[in-house]
Assembly symmetry: C2
Homo-oligomer: 153 residues x 2
């Protein structure tokens, strides 16, 4: 083959979708593991618990129906039953029966839960920002993608 086209400096990396997906998964796994570890160590709380508290805090009424909470945290109903049980055991939330529909159950955040969330959220945000920044430095292409989402700094 005479005169093969000179390879451009930046070979556009062939977009192997599966390989790219794996990179994304490894990113999320590393960051999530770090978040979970830090939250557990510094505040004695799990990721699911933390996020559930976050959604409860964000609720104007300080409470959410079990199914709503399930949707928000991305767990199924049965998992949320147990999650709220754990929050209850830690005194971060309690279960309140719905007055007008006796099937319904509200998960309500307590003051203790609020305080725990306030405390943990500083750690969470900081750890998350740092972790993403770090990942971005190791992989500029990833950094660009994260920046496009507004996930950096």
């Amino acid at each position: 083959m005479a005169h093969p086209a000179p390879t451009p400096v930046h070979v556009p990396p062939v977009a192997d979708v599966a390989a790219t997906w794996q990179r994304i998964l490894l990113l999320t796994a590393r960051v999530e593991n770090k978040l979970a570890a830090v939250l557990q160590r510094r505040h004695g709380i799990g990721l699911s618990e933390y996020r559930a508290l976050g959604h409860l805090v964000a609720s104007p009424t300080s409470e959410l129906r079990m199914q709503e909470l399930a949707d928000k945290v991305g767990l199924n109903q049965s998992s949320v039953t147990r999650l709220v049980a754990r929050l209850n055991a830690a005194d971060f939330a309690y279960r309140d029966l719905c007055a007008d529909d006796k099937r319904g159950v509200y998960a309500v955040i307590t003051d203790t839960g609020r305080a725990k969330y306030a405390e943990a959220s500083r750690t969470y945000e900081e750890t998350l920002s740092d972790a993403l920044k770090e990942e971005g430095q190791a992989d500029p292409q990833l950094a660009a993608a994260l920046a496009a989402l507004g996930a950096l700094s």
Copy 2:
């Protein structure tokens, strides 16, 4: 305050890192769940199993040390012991003792495993591409980020 700076047409969406991270997590959760479901239904195989087979196929020697495999699939060493046990039970791989280091164990893919992977990988790639495309359509900003990584089409 007189003369506040006129708000530009595109308010740069305030980059709440945590909220963005949640979007990414929901994306991965949805896609991974879909992949897992389709793989399980059409090929009777789990995601971890599929990915382990992928790494074994990619190995020039068709085998990997347990710890190597653990690193690649992003699982704990003990989880890989059980993962390979499942692959073994399904006749997709077998365990081979390392000759020069009797502590070492190789996980070796079988022809059956190879065939299963070849078959499942078509489903996997297709499902993944479709799912990402779909997610991208629902969220243009996400689409841009995915495109930056070469994860689309």
